[in-house]
Symmetry: D2
Subunit: 265 residues, 4 copies
């Protein structure tokens, strides 16, 4: 077979006996002690070091996504740990597996909406309100929920949103994507006739867009941030376990129903 | 059944309509824009904010573990992404699943050795060299490799180790665990009769111990740090893929062997 | 909060001190020694025992999906095992994580096409060829590849397809879905102007539809079948490892490129 | 670098344009329609077709392990599906990740005990009761629970055990490993002074040993069997969901505790 071989290359990094290079930087000399974990994530994703403004905003986005309490993801990690306590990594992997189209994966939906509406942020459309009106009308006509707005619990506002937008403004990232997100939310409130705050997902999608992070990569921030949170949950599960109690309750309730004729047959 | 129910509780966090609390801190007001991702990880794991010295050292440990090039873990994540590009989280989960007893899981081995040798760091033994000699003799007698020392590539030193120990010293964490690790390495070089540098795993295990992180939790730092790195690899795989090439090469080579009678039968 | 609680119920099974019930059947008395693993899978998925004809066809579908050689999924499982040999389950989990939209997940695409075209198999449309023509025209107009037909390697026919269709016919399952799949393939060959055999995915999608398995569940067959195959690969990796060789080759090639200036910078 | 390359080989299978070979057998011609999924699993693991007796016993072992109701593994899969319903494979992967040292992984512990006690089944020790006594005394002295005996729910016997041992006997597999397991259980009941039935894990470990399956591979049977069961749970979750209810209950209960001052601070 005369298939043409493609080279195996990476720009992520490599090692020699006396050097460890990550994204072109000497790890011990240039990175350790000089950058924090969020900056390292930015370097990994974008291929360059963040500016100080980018560092503040990017770290804030990641911190927002670390901990959301007893989510399905956290419960899944804790239940997995119960069966395989020798494998913390497997528990985190199980927890991450559920960050799909319903939960954390949604961060990319609002980023996509914004980046498809404004492909080139250096040439934003002149009339953002008209653009927002067209977007809202389009989603409303299809009977769909607009990504990034509305929240079942946090009303009338999601307290993360104003804080993230303030951080963006303080660091020079109050650009067309955040403005468009705000116009969309305002327009949607009128068209749908109810309170529709920009939720954390929408705020993060807008801030990612201002940071020039491609929408396809936004979910990745949620994934590693949640990995941090899941390690926290597993450490708590080590000393204050809840997974066995959840399991026993579920099993007992299901057994009672089955024996009462309500299932199992 | 009259089983006594245990309460479902967590100290990780909770939300109300206008508040989001993480580890007792108001997320928007006290955390966003004020702490970096590494500090957030420390808060999640230890239940309190790091001091500025802890922040520097803990972030450095995490940054050390983010990126190691084309590891089995990175290759597994990239191969998974090839089959399920709609699920970045699944690719990261697959990559994390291999961080077991052979690779990143080893960070806990050196931490365990040190913490079991010095259960109470406020009362370290008077003669660390004698303790190190006993430890080395014990491992040597069992014919086992001492965790945290020796490296197949980085010789005569692992360049990460002196940098991490310097950061520990600058921030007041040059305590008995680092001293014991150094004594163990020196003693082992004599007993085993070869160059045995303290590798990154050993340096991290010692620094974690100085930070009072229980050895059972050390692997967790490697898990979330590597999640950051895997997101980087998947972003690279999006625009410069290598997984299909690896697959095709492996498949072609195996087929040729099978058809030549060397397998498959 | 006065939320209405929903009951936790399942019909999958339950246990009491002297009984183990699965899907309404006594496990030791009615299932062990009486049904094979494929039948058990049918019982789990469909909630009833298969007929003898269903048993033959369903087992054949599952057997088809077990082993496809050194796929990305098998490579990912083997690489994961290298790092966590104490966790066979994690290696299988990593391998399964890549069975998404590109590989095994595609079984549901052809089943969906067929089931949406013929919602009620008891009332198939009179003219299947006209229906096939409309389907092919629709996909061709969108410039998309029709799921279930065409194969990069197996030409002019995929040898699994005639065998599966023969088994369907022998057991009374040669119904409208298989007929439609054949009409679609014939029509597509003309419209696209090239050899487009019904591949295994298309044959399985059609047979699943004849077995009244909802298209959303078809991927599940591939998932558990491949779990069987991945256990086989991991057993082989135990005594004839290849993962470390794949890793070393990739790492060496990437390092050489980086040092030659082709990356890493 | 002059490293010697090792060949990439596999005996699992390969494809050419007109052939698909699995473990040396032509898949369409020799396997489809002729063997069931359990036989295929035996072929994958052992490299040869099972005899009819091996087929009955091996399928029974696998069927035993498919469905155990609302286990932590099943709950984890269902919670994962809630967040990523587009990825059935990720939900199964999450469920499998917890099959470690505490649950399904235990099948290998009893197999290991037996295979280490009788390394060569063709030359079993003359006095199994004396061997059993030594084994029990050894575990009892260490204060450990003997793998394969005792069950929290199934008392005084586990109903799966007599059925599996009867199937073994009917098919000529009532050899020294089953006999030793029975002697160990009888001896343990005396030494520990309580009812200690051979549980399903012990029965499976003994039957695997009679089938000459290496103990390191026994866990694999549980892994693919449970993958079958998890697909069943996910199909049920599609039409009768319980995961969201479990999540909401856990979150509500934790929030109430936190607001009452019992946590979150």
């Amino acid at each position: 077979m005369s298939r043409k071989r493609r080279a195996i290359v990476t720009e992520m990094g490599y090692s020699t006996p006396d050097r460890i290079v990550v994204r072109g930087h000497d790890l011990p000399g240039e990175l350790l002690g000089r950058i924090n974990l969020g900056d390292m994530a930015f370097l990994e994703m974008m291929g360059r070091m963040p500016t100080s403004g980018e560092s503040v905003l990017f770290n804030a986005l990641a911190v927002t996504l670390v901990e959301h309490g007893l989510t399905p993801s956290a419960l899944s990690a804790r239940l997995t740990f119960t069966g395989a306590p020798e494998s913390i990594q497997a528990a985190v992997a199980a927890g991450l597996s559920g960050l799909g189209s319903v939960f954390v994966g949604t961060t990319e939906d609002s980023a996509r909406l914004l980046q498809e509406a404004i492909p080139d942020p250096h040439r934003p459309p002149g009339d953002l309100r008209a653009l927002a009106a067209r977007i809202v009308a389009d989603w409303h006509r299809r009977g769909a929920l607009i990504p990034g707005i509305g929240h079942p619990l946090h009303k009338p506002i999601d307290p993360r949103t104003p804080r993230l937008f303030a951080l963006a403004a303080e660091n020079g990232f109050d650009g067309p994507y955040i403005a468009l997100m705000q116009s969309v939310a305002a327009e949607a409130a009128e068209v749908y006739g109810k309170v529709l705050p920009i939720n954390a997902t929408g705020a993060i999608g807008a801030c990612c867009s201002e940071l020039r992070i491609p929408w396809r990569a936004c979910r990745g921030i949620g994934v590693f941030a949640r990995a941090v949170g899941l390690v926290g949950h597993i450490m708590e599960e080590m000393h204050t376990p809840i997974a066995r109690e959840l399991w026993t309750r579920a099993e007992d309730e299901a057994r009672e129903h089955a024996l009462a004729g309500g299932g199992g047959g």
